[in-house]
């Protein structure tokens, strides 16, 4: 079970954080859902959003990214990078800043593919339709024709261990106490002080 962890680094495409029949604890804001993976597949790199043209020296509006929504009972694991020269601020969900320090929300720009080629620092997970949102910042003295984001990752279908046909209260109890392994998947940011 040593392969059960998030933020994996390696050369090339990253590994999934859980395989078939492995346990996950999905954290969304202050909630946690104990579930088991029963299907997964890769998501090749794709353009998940075009934040649109952006005038010179202008921040764009906060824009939801519905193309990263997942179906019910599923979560997605994504790493991402922009292919146009803007700085991107990520919010997940739309009201909570990601990559948040005490005094600074760290943006992602095209340099990330050079400074973090594995994109590990951009990794996010999306639980069902709890989508992230992005803001683009154009610091140039000229307009940008588009601000496009490429995402890559995995899709996981899960079943609940807390209720329904696959409910297993003993297993959930063991997962919570650490006696059974599970991967903790953080599907949102966290507000300062929460």
């Amino acid at each position: 079970m040593t392969d059960l962890y998030i933020f994996k680094t390696q050369v090339g495409m990253f590994d999934p954080l859980a395989l078939y029949n492995q346990n996950v604890a999905i954290h969304y804001v202050q909630n946690a859902y104990y579930r088991k993976v029963d299907f997964l597949e890769g998501m090749p790199p794709f353009q998940c959003i075009n934040l649109g043209a952006l005038a010179a020296l202008t921040p764009g509006p906060r824009t939801a990214v519905p193309n990263l929504d997942m179906p019910d009972n599923e979560f997605g694991l994504f790493r991402w990078y922009p292919i146009d020269d803007a700085q991107i601020r990520l919010y997940h969900p739309a009201g909570i800043a990601k990559f948040q320090l005490r005094n600074l929300q760290v943006p992602v720009d095209m340099n990330v593919v050079v400074r973090d080629p594995n994109l590990v620092s951009t990794e996010i997970a999306v639980w069902e339709n709890n989508r992230p949102a992005m803001e683009a910042i154009n610091g140039h003295a000229f307009g940008l024709g588009a601000v496009r984001i490429i995402a890559i990752g995995y899709r996981f279908h899960t079943v609940s261990l807390e209720s329904g046909a696959n409910a297993d209260p003993d297993l959930v109890k063991a997962m919570k106490s650490g006696k059974e392994p599970c991967t903790h998947v953080f599907c949102s940011g966290r507000g300062i002080g929460d």
Partner: protein, 128 residues
């Protein structure tokens, strides 16, 4: 330059014979890929090479940009010189700024001798 890390698929435009001058007669040189509800993502094109062949058109310039019509056409690059009855090749890393176009690319010769024309072909990197 960092923009070189923009992944691009190399394609070429068709060879277009430009036998009329001025922006009012700008020719469509390259169409940005678009297929509504099928093609995923917004595509753009970065011009890598420009190949011109002057068919007894006289010494003139070719302007590459977007749009058709005087007051509508907007240049992407400064005018490129073409010599009478000779070929001219401009390349991204030697001669051309790394301009990126999000709209169909058009071009026109500034002037032509009677009966003359300029053939043009682009090599582009499709991004997105």
């Amino acid at each position: 330059m960092l923009l070189d890390t923009k992944e691009g698929i190399i394609v070429t435009s068709p060879v277009v014979n430009m036998n009329l001058a001025t922006a009012a007669n700008a020719f469509l040189i390259f169409t940005i890929p678009i297929l509504v509800n099928q093609l995923i993502g917004t595509k753009s094109a970065k011009i890598r090479k420009v190949h011109l062949f002057n068919n007894v058109a006289g010494n003139t310039n070719v302007v590459i940009g977007n749009g058709v019509g005087i007051g509508v056409f907007v240049a992407l690059l400064p005018a490129l010189a073409t010599m009478n009855n000779l070929e001219d090749i401009y390349g991204e890393h030697g001669d051309l700024p790394e301009v990126e176009s999000f709209a169909n690319i058009t071009a026109y010769p500034a002037a032509l001798l009677v009966g003359g024309s300029v053939d043009i072909q682009l090599e582009l990197a499709i991004i997105g």
